[in-house]
């Protein structure tokens, strides 16, 4: 006979941690099923090489579009999900991000406004201990002051800030989910730049140190190596009844639940729902709109590099940078692409890996690479532009013909960066090179286009025929099925997605808690 719990949460990342804490503390029996392994802080070794274990690989995502979404690099696997290796850059969405269709006739509107979400931003930042400079951050939407002072600025940040000053641009400390002082029993950061490898001190707010500890204390259970394949429903397809999952041995199990929260990141959420097709839902679960999997987005990003004849100390700080600028956040300009841009200044660097020093000049090898490494270890500086992507229905997650080891179709991404996103990226390349030159670099170059954060696929909206969930991440079609994570974002803004998804998850989890009887009835 199948086990039964009150709530099953699929995935053990950021959104899952919030749902688990809120619902377990409300007395619900909560089970979190995670595809990957159990993971503890002491498993997080300071090495870019071992950090690769934190990332996704299989079931693999197939890609058929013009551009890649860098899924394996962005996604996570194991307890903590992608948030275990995220950089902790936590700016807020701006009020206009929620109303782009209404204000500008572009993109989509959210089914909520900034003021609806503001209290949740404030509560999350108080819970995790956000650091920042409330006064210096002149672009910051209304909200409670940061509970912790900003991160220190080292040589790398100070030198690059000269470029912004020369071009009359404002900078402020990056708002970071990284402790600058002891907070709620967690230690302060030591600024050694190992964030991507996971932070074993707990200074960076990953789910292993925020929300999941509350959930576990309240009785929630985290179950590793349990790969969910389908969401199950009653015969009429009106309510979710649980999930089917496969364990490490390949054995299939059913876990029944009064409510299901899918929080398995953007791609797997869409894939699981598409694979949950049934007679009442022939095109996939929660897909009466036909838009499940659609509006896939990623932030077009570029690193601008410069070699300086100064000791940059580029190994100091955190991977999320020391300073940032939102002077280019205005969405409409006289000419040029629509949307926002944001600069991140002076992220900590390591010699190897995708964002490491050696990869900044992938064309070099042999003695040329050797001499570059010696010079760059001392004098390389970098800034990163994050550009807004546009929600386009043709960018999508769909099912492929190829199947995984358990017989379920793999996901396939069909994605091409939006024209506006490409225009913003080009503008960033030009401006970034000018900024680095103005800071005093001898040589300036830039990276190929990358993609940061993955959003969409299960977007929220007011209308059931134009979106998958409502404002509280509840699917329009199945009232006891909720979605967690950046998949519900209908627009991307130009800010990192983690703070936003935490705030949305808190709002949605509390809605589920407070409306339990009607939701599961």
């Amino acid at each position: 006979m199948a086990e039964k719990v009150d709530v099953v949460i699929v995935g053990a990342g950021a959104a899952a941690s919030v749902y688990a804490a809120v619902l377990a503390e409300a007395g619900k029996e909560v089970r979190v099923l995670e595809t990957g392994p159990a993971r503890k802080l002491e498993d997080l070794y300071s090495s870019q090489i071992s950090a690769r274990r934190l990332k996704w690989a299989v079931p693999e995502l197939l890609e058929a579009g013009k551009d890649t979404i860098w899924f394996n690099y962005n996604a996570g696997r194991g307890f903590g999900g992608a948030a275990v290796h995220h950089f902790g850059v936590w700016p807020r969405y701006h009020p206009e991000d929620f109303k782009e269709r209404s204000l500008y006739g572009r993109g989509l509107d959210w089914p909520l406004e900034y003021e609806d979400l503001r209290p949740y931003y404030d509560r999350v930042q108080a819970e995790v201990g956000l650091s920042g400079d409330t006064e210096a951050e002149i672009w910051r939407p209304p909200g409670d002051p940061y509970p912790l002072p900003p991160v220190p600025v080292f040589s790398h940040g100070r030198i690059l800030a000269r470029g912004f000053e020369a071009l009359d641009m404002n900078v402020a400390a990056v708002p970071l989910a990284i402790l600058t002082a002891p907070y709620k029993g967690r230690a302060a950061c030591t600024y050694d730049g190992w964030c991507e490898a996971g932070c074993p001190t707990g200074a960076l707010a990953n789910p292993l140190v925020v929300y999941f500890p509350r959930a576990l204390k309240a009785g929630a259970t985290l179950q590793p190596r349990s790969h969910v394949t389908r969401v199950l429903t009653d015969a009429k397809g009106k309510l979710a009844t649980g999930v089917e999952y496969v364990d490490d041995t390949g054995t299939r199990h059913t876990l029944l639940a009064d409510s299901v929260v899918l929080a398995a990141f953007t791609v797997e959420n869409s894939r699981i729902l598409l694979n949950s097709a049934s007679t009442p839902h022939p095109d996939g679960l929660a897909n009466s709109s036909g838009l499940l999997g659609r509006y896939l987005m990623t932030h077009p990003s570029v690193n601008i590099f410069g070699l300086f004849d100064e000791d940059m100390q580029n190994y100091m700080g955190v991977n999320g940078g020391q300073l940032f600028s939102q002077d280019r956040f205005n969405k409409v300009r006289k000419a040029g692409p629509f949307g926002s841009r944001q600069w991140i200044i002076a992220p900590a660097l390591k010699p190897n890996d995708l964002l490491g020093i050696a990869m900044t000049r992938a064309d070099l090898f042999g003695p040329d690479l050797q001499s570059f490494m010696e010079r760059a270890a001392r004098g390389l500086g970098t800034i990163v532009a994050i550009s807004q992507d546009q929600p386009l229905p043709e960018n999508r997650i769909e099912l492929a013909d190829t199947k995984d080891a358990h017989g379920f179709p793999l996901a396939r991404a069909v994605y091409a960066a939006s024209a506006d996103g490409l225009g913003l990226w080009n503008a960033s390349v030009d401006e970034g090179q000018a900024l680095i030159k103005a800071a005093g670099a001898d040589e300036v170059w830039h990276s190929p286009r990358g993609g940061q954060h993955i959003m969409g696929g299960t977007i929220m909206g007011d209308k059931p025929d134009a979106s998958v969930t409502n404002a509280v991440s509840q699917t329009h079609d199945i009232p006891n099925l909720f979605i967690g994570g950046p998949g519900v974002f209908p627009t991307s803004s130009a800010v990192n997605s983690t703070f936003h998804l935490y705030a949305l998850a808190l709002m949605s989890a509390e809605y589920l808690r407070d409306n339990w009887a009607s939701v599961v009835a």
């Binding site: 997080l44 690989a57 860098w70 390591k350 010699p351 995708l354």
Partner: protein, 193 residues
């Protein structure tokens, strides 16, 4: 000589995970599993699981052209050890670069294509090329698809092997020290690799 406990460590899952954090991986020495760095594995003649002896030489030669020091740092031992690993546990950069698992197919095909190209262009396998010839050939695969290439996209193969070479030479505490970068680990390695 290392202490007996490290020479004959039990390679259970926990010690394996700890080892990978320290740069140690499970290698086979005369049929016995031991935790070693790739550099140690090469120096002690560890067995290869996936690569043939010719492939080992080709990969070492290519790695050395890409990043001087990669041969002795154990690039072939590192890649070989990871080729047969569970892709989700893989430490190869190929994982980030959209190489479809199993990664062994990618390396076998890439190394074979490199040798074929070398034979067509210089009438000799890659390991027998003069330095200048090897550099010419590597340059050609780094940014184009040579007519006689029959394997995975050559710039992708170049990028992956270059990343492997960078990992074993610079991605270690020893590599950091060579560049005068403080390693600053939260969990300090007990030895450099």
């Amino acid at each position: 000589m290392p202490p007996r406990s490290s020479r004959h460590a039990d390679v259970n899952r926990r010690s394996f995970l700890q080892g990978t954090g320290l740069g140690l991986l499970a290698f086979s020495l005369a049929g016995t599993q031991v935790l070693l760095t790739p550099r140690q594995a090469r120096a002690r003649g560890a067995d290869f699981k996936s690569l043939g002896s010719g492939e080992v030489l080709t990969l070492e030669a290519l790695g050395e052209v890409l990043v001087p020091g990669a041969r002795e740092a154990g690039i072939a031992n590192f890649v070989d050890q990871q080729m047969s690993a569970d892709p989700n546990e893989s430490l190869l950069m190929a994982k980030y670069l959209n190489v479809a698992p199993p990664y062994s197919d990618f390396y076998h095909a890439g190394l074979a294509a490199l040798d074929r190209l070398s034979n067509v262009q210089f009438d000799a396998p890659f390991v027998e090329l003069e330095q200048e010839q090897a550099v010419t050939l590597v340059s050609s695969i780094s940014n184009s698809v040579p007519d006689d290439w029959d394997g995975p996209p050559p710039p992708l193969f170049y990028l992956c092997v270059r990343a492997d070479a960078v990992d074993v030479v610079y991605g270690t505490a020893e590599g950091f020290a060579k560049l005068k970068i403080p390693y600053l680990p939260h969990i300090p390695p007990p030895e450099r690799w």
